[in-house]
């Protein structure tokens, strides 16, 4: 039986410039990377720039990846998120409404990739439901922090609420979601 190479094996091949494994690596992750970039920047052309830059950065820094500290997919998505946020700021893109992002990430029953690690699809759906169930102000603060890279102080200025209130909203939301995840552990 043929077994798909692990994410780590493909990353190693990609980093060394082996054309076949590099192509397999890009194919495996391009949907995730482009999808996240598009969620944040909202414009396909810019999202492709972000995705392309993400792979370039991964190629250059693959040696820094430490499998003990996390999964390839989440490392890749963190890079994509940060680059998307940078592009949003540099190009002065219109800020997306956090509720739009919250709605998109709450769509259940997405087809999972064969490579998906971490939570199982039904567990991920449960996490989505938990996000939907959060009070509006908590969900908004969480999305601003997790997807749009806003610090607590920036959210406080943006929404004109005290810094302490923002922190409480985010912490409360994270504690609720974490308790959902603990059910799976």
């Amino acid at each position: 039986m043929e077994v798909d190479p692990s994410d780590e094996a493909l990353l190693a091949g990609f980093a060394t410039g082996d054309p076949r494994t590099a192509a397999a690596f890009v194919r495996r992750f391009q949907g995730r990377v482009f999808g996240l970039a598009l969620t944040i920047v909202r414009q396909p052309a810019i999202a492709e720039e972000v995705a392309q830059e993400t792979f370039a950065r991964v190629y250059r820094h693959a040696g820094n990846f430490d499998a003990r500290k996390g999964r390839v997919s989440t490392w890749l998505l963190s890079i994509a998120r940060n680059l998307a946020i940078d592009h949003t700021r540099m190009k002065r893109l219109d800020p997306v409404d956090p509720e739009v992002i919250a709605a998109e990430i709450s769509i259940e029953n997405q087809v999972p990739g064969a490579d998906e690690a971490g939570l199982q699809p039904d567990e991920r759906d449960q996490l989505r439901s938990a996000i939907t169930d959060l009070p509006d102000d908590q969900r908004r603060a969480l999305v601003l922090a997790a997807y749009m890279g806003r610090t607590a102080r920036e959210i406080s200025d943006l929404d004109d609420v005290p810094l302490g209130t923002v922190k409480t909203r985010i912490r409360t939301a994270m504690i609720k979601l974490r308790s959902e995840m603990e059910v799976f552990e």
Partner: protein, 223 residues
């Protein structure tokens, strides 16, 4: 749990999301470096932060995206310093020394000498090749010698400027599998050699990996 732990755990979620700034962040990171319990607590929230990003919907980029990425990133094949030897080897001093050293390691009963064709025959060898090791920026950093026979083996030699802190070696096969070379350890002369259980013909890349901050070295076998 002391007051620092209490303070750090209260902001564990904020730290995982990266929304803590300035002095507060500095204090927390300093504490996390010393406190494994608090680190574990923050890691749980980091896992959650990771999962949040994985909830974003997959979308396929436009046709040709993969090719554009690969065209931009993958360099045109470098001319390889590759020599293929039949049973009678060219008299290259370095290569001969490497063969002699490594055959002595792998097959202790073989004598070093000048009849290398005979040695290859005795070790059931069919092929002996040399590939250059490069740094990320394309500088030459050493050589690896691959021998196909019974057993198959590799000898890796690294130039002095690139030896520091190389900790591990692995082969990446044509199919993407990774094969660690557990015997890898550079001796004072910058060499390391040992048997491999895979067919050298199916090795795509040899990768030498450094500790934090070091530079990986790579030799491409394919082509």
């Amino acid at each position: 749990m002391d007051a620092r732990c209490q303070e750090t755990r209260e902001m564990a979620a904020d730290l995982a999301l990266g929304i803590v700034e300035g002095e507060e962040r500095g204090r927390a990171l300093q504490h996390l470096a010393e406190c494994p319990d608090c680190r574990t607590e923050v890691e749980k929230y980091s896992d959650l932060a990771d999962e949040l990003l994985l909830l974003a919907p997959r979308r396929e980029p436009s046709v040709g995206f993969e090719s554009r990425v690969l065209d931009e990133l993958l360099p045109a094949p470098k001319p390889k310093r590759r020599r293929r030897f039949a049973l009678v080897l060219a008299p290259v001093a370095t290569a001969l020394a490497a063969v002699a050293i490594t055959l002595a390691v792998v097959s202790g009963d073989l004598e070093r000498g000048s009849h290398y064709g005979d040695i290859l025959k005795e070790a059931n060898g069919t092929e002996f090749e040399a590939y250059s090791l490069y740094t990320d920026d394309g500088s030459l950093a050493g050589t690896t010698f691959s021998y196909q026979g019974a057993p198959n083996w590799l000898l890796i030699t690294v130039d002095p400027a690139h030896r520091a802190d190389l900790r591990a070696a692995q082969l990446v096969m044509d199919d993407g599998r990774q094969v660690p070379l557990n015997w890898f350890h550079l001796d004072p002369s910058g060499s390391s050699g040992g048997g491999i259980r895979v067919d050298p013909h199916h090795v795509s890349v040899l990768r030498l990996m450094p500790g934090a901050g070091g530079q990986p070295l790579v030799a491409h076998f394919a082509g």
